[in-house]
């Protein structure tokens, strides 16, 4: 990559972030230079021994007026800046539902990427241009940070939970991917690249580089059976367990009376800490899979549950029915 003061404007946010930054830069430079100019002017005019008039000093009331002026004006400017920058921030961390969902696992010192089609990569993320990309990220050990300066986006990646970030890359190319949160010895080498491709190239990449892998959902389906999930959650007559069909993104009433949305975090928690959020009408009898399933397996299981969204209509008595 070549030297550029502003890194490439290659995402949906880059323009907004740069616009705020450049406005701030102009505003701050103007104010700073004005203050410095006034200081220099006073220094010359009121240097010791100069003949400048020093009488008619502003009155008490006038001084208070001056103070209030330079309190109120910055205050108003600051509130304006807050609203402008806050809006963009809100958009950055409110992912759309229709995005291409890609999973990222950080560990000392590499990024593991899993595509919905089952493609896996390390330290490289291939994505199509002009599509909403929604990343779901977690860490296997310490806190990392998924940082793509060209897209003006970064977010810490925490162990023990999912974080989500989204962006739309606008121009095909190869961009730096950094770990932005200090994570130990080879923190600075936990770097890679994001490769943005045209739709045609991306379709070719999905096919060519990999001999049609098993999709994440298919892989999840395997685990669903091999880990024994299906024994209870698939039409069991013995154990009263919620069916998972059509569960994804549906509201789930809990025993506590709360209602939560069955998103990735909820599913992850329900696998690792089943007694934390028990759906209303069920007994907390599911064993924890903490230490039994890996982060990759959880992601595959979630992908499988997700894929069960439309295949069958939800059974009566499934988790989102409050009164089975």
């Amino acid at each position: 990559m070549t030297f550029a003061l502003l890194p490439y404007e290659d995402s949906s946010y880059a323009t907004s972030v740069d616009a705020i930054f450049l406005s701030l830069l102009l505003l701050c430079s103007a104010i700073s230079l004005a203050v410095f100019a006034v200081i220099i002017f006073f220094c010359i005019r009121y240097r010791k021994g100069s003949g400048a008039d020093r009488t008619h000093y502003p009155s008490e009331a006038r001084q208070i007026g001056i103070e209030l002026t330079w309190i109120v004006i910055p205050f108003i400017i600051f509130v304006g800046l807050f609203i402008w920058a806050g809006n963009v921030y809100y958009e950055m961390f409110s992912p759309p539902r229709d995005g291409l969902a890609i999973y990222v696992i950080g560990k000392q010192w590499m990024w593991k990427i899993e595509h919905p089609g089952g493609q896996r990569e390390i330290n490289q993320l291939h994505i199509p241009a002009n599509r909403n990309i929604v990343l779901t990220l977690t860490s296997q050990d310490v806190i990392h940070d998924f940082d793509v300066p060209a897209f003006r986006i970064k977010h810490d990646v925490l162990p023990g939970r999912y974080v989500r970030m989204w962006f739309k890359a606008t121009k095909p190319g190869t961009y730096h991917l950094f770990c932005g949160q200090y994570c130990g010895d080879f923190h600075s080498q936990m770097a890679g690249s994001v490769i943005v491709m045209s739709d045609i190239d991306y379709a070719a990449w999905l096919q060519k580089d990999h001999d049609t892998p098993e999709t994440l959902a298919a892989e999840g389906s395997r685990y669903f059976h091999s880990l024994g999930c299906s024994g209870c959650h698939e039409n069991s007559q013995v154990v009263h367990a919620p069916s998972l069909n059509g569960l994804y993104q549906q509201p789930v009433p809990l025993q506590s009376g709360q209602i939560v949305v069955a998103n990735d975090d909820y599913l992850r928690d329900s696998i690792l800490q089943p007694s934390k959020n028990v759906p209303a009408g069920y007994q907390p009898i599911m064993p924890s899979f903490q230490g039994i399933v890996s982060e990759e397996q959880i992601i595959a299981l979630i992908a499988y549950i997700k894929s069960q969204r439309t295949t069958e209509p939800p059974n009566p008595g499934s988790a989102h029915d409050p009164n089975p």
Partner: protein, 552 residues
């Protein structure tokens, strides 16, 4: 101030020459001697921290890690951060200048608790021993921020030893803060009302509140890290049931106010310097007082702005962003007031004022970039990059260290009784200003280009700006080395300064230089506001005297 000097002193006897044994220094209760003990100690720590900085910047001239392994580099920046923050910056102005000046400025003979003051120094040194031991044994590689679960579970360094050092050091801060608060409340001379206090005292009062209220949280946080690391008690590591973000909330609850521990006293020094060298009362005294207290208060409510991309709720992020903009208002008030103080003054450009101007320029840049960081969407892009590194060095080095040096020069004649060489001092200020900007301004650009901080190996397109940044180092080095040598020389051989070389009205200038052990023969009675500078004798125009026009 009506002073009725009483020849109770033995002429020529002062706090420096009264007793000369080593024991008389190590067991002194005199706040002025304790200030000098601190001065020597923190200068030593500053040198250690600087060596680490030089090694890092040398390494960073090359993109592929030529000199050190990643582990060594990580230990170097941790060492630099820990030593500079806790063993130099936080104690710098409060424990050296504050210790020396607060009792004198308020017309007292010593601190409220002279023995606690001495204990505070011993505690500081004891904490320093732990920190040095952890460095010598092999160092710590967590960064000065000790983020969990890296620090509590994964790091291989001497984390607990370092945490114990900082924990102990914290008690020194608490003792000092407590001492300052009680001293300012109880030992003010007759007539020294709250609104006759010099602004330096006000800022140290605000700082002391932070010392006392925030430091315990740091102690608790480090204890929890040590518990998790030493005994596997799950507090921060999610694998054993902890929450990694909890650490960041606790840490920044202390460490953000800690930034104001560094900058508030610097603002106090600059207020004194601007008034002294423009020979005018400070413009908007009351507003600066309330701004100081406002900063101390609001400083406790903005810790979450270090965590905009950490995974805390985005709504929390928004509230912290708004509050961070609010805390910028009192800082802006101060800069405007200093500027206005120059208006219709009689300005002389002695070295301390040059340091004060450096402070204003660099603090303004640091503050303005702080606004950019408070702007949420911009912060997402530049946080954890060199932009942050540049920003806080502008505040802490460009701001706090410049003011510290300015204060050291201004009060040097009082502390030692001798003058420093004026021309050398001005040159040092110029070297520091140029060297500092050369070293740190390129880092803003590097940050916006996306170079992450704490990177030992980096893409080649960042090399040019890194070389420019490192090239500021020799100038900075000269800027620090010069005062170290000429001040050291002048302390013994400089020309005698007399009691009031700046012709300043503050109480500290009404007693001999160096001051006698008990400061005042007779406790002064204060009758007017601070900064009652007389117009210089060579002005011809008829003028209202500042006291009449500005004293309320």
């Amino acid at each position: 101030m009506t002073q009725t000097p009483e020849p109770r002193f033995i002429p020529g006897e002062n706090y420096l020459n009264k007793e000369k044994t080593l024991a008389s220094w190590l067991f002194t209760h005199d706040h002025k001697r304790i200030a000098l003990l601190y001065l020597i100690s923190i200068t030593f720590f500053f040198l250690i921290g600087s060596v680490a900085a030089v090694l890092m910047r040398t390494e960073l001239m090359f993109p592929h890690g030529e000199f050190f392994t990643s582990t060594t580099y990580n230990k170097l920046f941790t060492l630099h951060g820990v030593i500079m923050v806790w063993f130099f910056l936080i104690p710098s102005i409060p424990n050296v200048l504050g210790n020396f000046l607060i009792p004198i400025m308020i017309g007292a003979r010593d601190m409220a608790f002279p023995r606690l003051n001495l204990i505070s120094w011993y505690v500081f040194m004891f904490g320093g021993l732990f920190a040095l031991a952890s460095i010598i044994l092999g160092g710590v590689d967590t960064g000065w921020t000790f983020y969990t679960p890296y620090s509590s579970t994964y790091s291989n360094g001497w984390v607990i030893a370092m945490a114990v050092g900082i924990f102990i050091n914290g008690f020194s801060s608490i003792f000092t803060g407590l001492n300052f608060i009680v001293t300012i409340h109880k030992l003010r001379a007759p007539g020294m009302t709250w609104f006759r206090l010099p602004l330096f005292v006000w800022t140290l009062y605000s700082t002391s509140l932070i010392f006392v209220l925030a430091t315990p949280v740091l102690a608790i946080t480090l204890t929890l890290v040590a518990l998790e690391r030493g005994f596997g008690i799950g507090i921060f590591d999610p694998r054993i049931g902890g929450d990694p973000l909890l650490f960041q909330h606790l840490f920044w609850f202390y460490s953000h106010p800690a930034v104001y521990i560094m900058i508030l006293p610097a603002m106090g020094v600059v207020s004194e310097l601007i008034a002294a060298f423009s020979r005018k009362p400070i413009f908007g005294y009351n507003f600066i007082v309330y701004a100081s207290l406002g900063i101390a208060f609001l400083g406790f409510l903005v810790w979450g702005h270090h965590m905009f991309v950490s995974g805390q709720s985005i709504y929390a992020g928004m509230i912290f962003s708004l509050l961070s903009f609010f805390v910028a208002v009192p800082s802006a008030i101060k800069v405007f007031n200093w500027t206005a103080t120059l208006y219709k003054g009689h300005i002389t450009f002695d070295a301390p004022l040059l340091y004060a101007f450096s402070f204003i320029a660099l603090f303004t840049i640091g503050g303005m970039t702080g606004l950019m960081l408070a702007s949420l969407a911009v912060d997402v892009h530049v946080t954890q990059t060199y932009f942050i590194v540049a920003h806080f060095h502008y505040i802490m080095v460009g701001g706090a260290v410049m003011a510290y040096l300015g204060g050291i020069h201004y009060w040097f004649p009082k502390i030692t009784g001798r003058m420093y060489p004026e021309m050398l001092a001005r040159w040092a200020a110029v070297f520091l200003f140029i060297g500092f900007n050369l070293a740190f301004f390129p880092q803003f650009i590097l940050g916006y280009m996306g170079m992450p901080r704490r990177y030992h190996v980096y893409p080649e397109e960042f090399q040019l700006l890194n070389i420019i940044s490192t090239s500021g180092l020799p100038l900075l080095g000269i800027g620090y080395f010069l005062p170290l040598t000429y001040l050291g020389w002048s302390a013994f051989f400089g020309r005698l300064a007399g009691p009031n070389p700046w012709d300043a009205p503050g109480l500290e200038w009404q007693i001999p230089s160096p001051p006698p052990s008990e400061n005042f023969a007779c406790i002064p009675i204060v009758t007017r506001k601070p900064y009652g500078y007389d117009p210089p004798p060579d002005t011809h125009e008829p003028e209202e005297s500042p006291e009449e026009s500005h004293v309320r």
